[in-house]
Symmetry: C2
């Protein structure tokens, strides 16, 4: 693969660890670069998740559909973020979540088959993944508390401030699903905020 | 320190990686063993969290108090679990959470100052911590979805089934706080479940 395709990933990794040219080339020889169309699935709930994915370009949603058919969005991923069903990936059991592309999306994919080989050849990657998962875990814990302790309006304002680039790229009903409220309620909150200004 | 004090931690680590006798001794020489009384704080919201803690004995709650003074419990930890404010620990900024002992509690504590030295001397520990944080992250993501998609009754039943040992050790109002409901509502749910039986 042309190395420049995975350059955004290499730049991202540089924030955590330093790789030699040889290590970058080895990594490049092992990962998969893949383009998806808007509407395509990277993972489907019920399948075993085979990849950890770094988003080079595009936007995805990760969601769960419950037995009543209701969809709940857990997260969006854009450039320089990750997406996967990690529970399924680490245990190689059926996924609880789907990941779908909301835009044409380009990914660098780490397959379950090669990740152990990568850790063995480049032990620093163990540190890299530990650090990014620590951050993801912290964000996830804080979100649980926000969901308990903040009002829907406060949660919307937090989302808007924290992820301004995402809100412009996705339909409002998906923002509502991420916040755990109906789209009618989100619309009411936004009208109220206009009056407050 | 007598090595048998940290034996529960060494047994736990064996589920993930193999340490040599020398590595176990090095680890033992670096960690801190500490007893806390019931009601004492391991971390206080607003302080910088200096330790990752493995629970050898006892029970703790991790919670956030919001600006209105309301307490929200994020998690309980008992034997063979971990507790910390990881966001504060990794960034060394003030903690968003407190951790308090609900019983007399004994911990093996990894201080921020020694953890880098441990990773350097025993690189396998990097893998160990990566794997336990992956599991914690997955549990946390699934909890976000349950909080959205399950009713309070279903969430209570999940908690009861998943953590039967914890429910017997803590007051009901804390279970309610963990579930994000009032203690009156939890009491109503439990009465309803008795009728259903």
């Amino acid at each position: 693969m042309e190395q420049n395709k995975i350059q955004p990933l290499l730049n991202y990794i540089k924030n955590y660890i330093s790789l030699t040219k040889e290590e970058e080339q080895f990594l490049n020889s092992k990962v998969t670069y893949r383009k998806y169309l808007k509407g395509q699935y990277i993972i489907q709930q019920g399948d075993v998740c085979k990849y950890e994915c770094f988003v080079v370009k595009g936007c995805t949603k990760m969601f769960h559909v419950n037995e009543e058919g209701q969809e709940h969005i857990l997260m969006f991923s854009i450039e320089d973020w990750w997406t996967s069903d990690m529970g399924s990936f680490i245990t190689q059991t059926p996924a609880d979540f789907s990941v779908m592309c909301l835009e044409p999306t380009e990914l660098v994919m780490f397959s379950h088959d090669i990740i152990e080989e990568l850790y063995e050849k480049i032990p620093k990657l163990e540190r890299f993944f530990r650090q990014i998962i620590e951050k993801a875990f912290v964000a996830s814990q804080k979100r649980i508390v926000r969901n308990f302790s903040l009002s829907a309006k406060e949660r919307y304002l937090y989302f808007k401030n924290q992820y301004p680039k995402i809100e412009q790229r996705i339909p409002q009903y998906m923002v509502a699903s991420y916040l755990g409220i109906t789209k009618e309620f989100l619309s009411k909150i936004k009208k109220q905020l206009l009056v407050d200004e």
